[in-house]
């Protein structure tokens, strides 16, 4: 457990190096075919998901802000699911897309997708449902061009609830996939 802060500060240090590198090389970055999407093309890419997912080769004007966004781990690291579902809800697609961009832009980054369920139902069956959710996110990221070697999946089932109690609000906070870098 003590490793995590260290890993995190390393990631921050690396980000700084990457940002510095980007500004000196003027907009190109590794992960070429998926790289250099700026803020506006991100939006386009997100809406493009419905029309066939053209995320590759969005070449061009990498603004400083865009570079920075792709070199930092996205802020939203938890997405939520409907009861008994593993479908990524449309409201979270942009959040998952941000992770896809980050992972493509940072091929050395590794993410562990933690799948969780609410407490209803049996523990081991929920373990399987939590894995289904995490794998749904993994598949989505893979389709967006993230290498499977950058991703792993761990289901926690109902064992690590984020909220306690038996209300629907607690349940809805517990049905989630968390991106752990």
């Amino acid at each position: 457990m003590q490793l995590k802060p260290l890993v995190r500060s390393l990631a921050v240090a690396l980000s700084i190096v990457v940002i510095a590198g980007c500004s000196s090389t003027g907009g190109t970055q590794d992960g070429d075919s998926y790289g250099s999407q700026d803020g506006s093309s991100m939006g386009a890419g997100t809406s493009g998901a419905g029309t066939g997912g053209q995320y590759g080769s969005t070449t061009g004007s990498g603004s400083g802000a865009g570079q920075q966004a792709d070199s930092r781990i996205p802020e939203v690291r938890t997405i939520y699911f409907d009861y008994d579902r593993d479908t990524i809800k449309s409201e979270y697609e942009s959040a998952v897309m941000a992770h896809a961009r980050y992972l493509r832009a940072n091929p050395n980054a590794q993410v562990v997708l933690h799948g969780h369920t609410d407490e209803r139902g049996t523990r081991e069956y929920n373990m399987a449902l939590g894995e289904r959710r995490a794998r749904a996110v993994q598949r989505f990221l893979n389709i967006q061009g993230v290498s499977n070697s950058q991703m792993s999946v761990v289901s926690y089932g109902e064992e690590r609830p984020a909220a306690s109690g038996q209300s629907e609000s607690a349940y809805s906070q517990n049905r989630r996939v968390v991106f752990n870098y």
Binding site: R120, G121, V153
Partner: protein
């Protein structure tokens, strides 16, 4: 197969606290009494003054917990015989008592000699009696042994009061949780810590000799199945494949463990040979297959699968490799366990009121709901088949509860704090 190289390594000492008494005893609350319970009197043992345990009280509590007996209040006993010859049958008949237990304790060099007699009041005869040698530090064990003898003499069913239960405790939320694996006497007392971790512990399963537990621990930040000797604390990591390593259950011959692994995609049922650690895949479906349970004869396995949509119970025959669906009532039936005679199954059933423990005859029987809460799970059957222990909720806390196999009586085992869940009733230990 790098996993195999890790297999016989003994794991981190920090996580194993050597068997130490921990203050996590469970208490008993009888929640439902049977109207068909047999009235019995258990007279306080002569010579019990000054001893650390009240022998008659332990026996009385054991018998009451079984749901088959209704003990007479002590305050109603105006005679206190301590041996068969002193019992006035008329006195006890007038108190509507059908059976009477009398006894006495005598101090010996290293402990006590406990003599008891079981009297049939209506038949006016002594049924059994025995002198039991007890260590001073195991008076509860001696009392449970006496309970077992009394229970069997009256019901013709082997007593299960000298057994243990394993269970998991949890406290906290999210990334700040503490988990514990404990073993306690069947009455919730004498709890011993087996393992603690800040990562989840799940699904304890007893070896058929009652010496070891297989369980799931996330202590490496992902699930792995471990096998641990309860008395010595020694343990090994049995599996740590990619994906789920879950739901271990020991075969009746003690040589294999059935489990659910998702290393090849969806969770499937596998059997691991404990001797050489090889795993053999049994199921092959594009669905969730988990929660295996061995039949008492070792020839088939129950498991949960959502191959038909929602979770239902299926039975896999090891000989033929055939699979057949067993449950058809409702749209959620999961985590089944066989009764010791193999004729019935106990499972978690979702009704309009939530999740309950239910019983069903294996061969196309009607499903009978046994518990009455809304989030009951993890049923585990006593080795004599008379009771089923399971996890339920009391307020916001998980607690253990037990119900008689006929559903007539139940009791609860609340803990002082935190959640208690995932109970596993041990096999007979003596």
């Amino acid at each position: 197969m790098q996993i195999l190289s890790k297999v016989w390594l003994f794991c981190a000492l920090l996580l194993i606290s050597s068997i130490a008494n921990a203050n996590a005893n469970l208490t008993i609350e009888i929640t439902r009494g049977s109207d068909q319970a047999l009235p019995i009197g258990v007279v306080p043992f002569a010579g019990n003054e000054g001893m650390s345990e009240d022998i008659a009280q332990i026996i009385q509590d054991d018998l009451e917990r079984s749901g088959l007996f209704e003990p007479l209040e002590r305050s109603a006993m105006f005679e206190k015989p301590s041996q068969a010859d002193d019992v006035e049958f008329g006195t006890w008949r007038s108190l509507d008592v059908r059976y009477l237990v009398v006894g006495r304790a005598e101090q010996t060099g290293s402990g006590y000699q406990l003599q008891f007699d079981l009297m049939d009041i209506s038949g006016q005869r002594r049924m059994i009696g025995e002198s039991v040698t007890a260590n001073a530090n195991d008076l509860r064990g001696a009392a449970h042994y006496i309970s077992d003898q009394i229970f069997e003499a009256i019901t013709d069913i082997r007593g299960a009061f000298s057994t243990s239960i394993a269970y998991v405790t949890a406290q906290g939320l999210g990334d700040n949780m503490q988990f514990g694996l404990y073993v306690a006497d069947a009455d919730g007392r004498n709890s011993q810590q087996v393992l603690t971790s800040d990562q989840p512990i799940m699904s304890p399963s007893w070896s058929p000799d009652g010496r070891k537990l297989a369980y799931v621990s996330f202590e490496t930040e992902r699930p792995a199945i471990y096998i641990q000797d309860v008395a010595t604390g020694q343990r090994v990591m049995a599996t740590s494949f990619d994906g789920i390593n879950g739901a271990p259950t020991w075969s009746p011959d003690g040589r294999r463990i059935a489990m659910s692994l998702s290393k090849d995609g969806q969770p499937e049922i596998y059997i691991m040979d404990i001797g050489n650690r090889s795993v053999e895949r049994l199921t092959n479906s594009n669905s969730i297959d988990t929660e295996p349970a061995w039949s008492p004869d070792g020839r088939s396995l129950l498991f949960t699968s959502d191959r038909s949509g929602g979770p239902q119970i299926y039975q896999y025959s090891l000989g033929s490799g055939e699979t057949k669906r067993v449950t058809f009532t409702g749209n959620y039936n999961a985590r089944a366990r066989y009764s010791p005679d193999g004729d019935q199954i106990f499972l978690v059933h979702r009704s309009s009121r939530g999740y309950q423990v239910a019983r069903q005859d294996l061969e196309g029987g009607r499903l009978v709901v046994l518990s009455d809460s809304t989030r009951d799970e993890s049923p585990s059957v006593a080795p004599n088949g008379t009771m089923v222990i399971f996890a339920t909720q009391q307020g916001n806390n998980g607690v253990l509860s037990a119900v008689s196999a006929d559903g007539r009586s139940s009791f609860r085992l609340p803990a002082a704090q935190g959640d208690v869940r995932d109970p596993a009733w041990s096999p007979f230990l003596n």
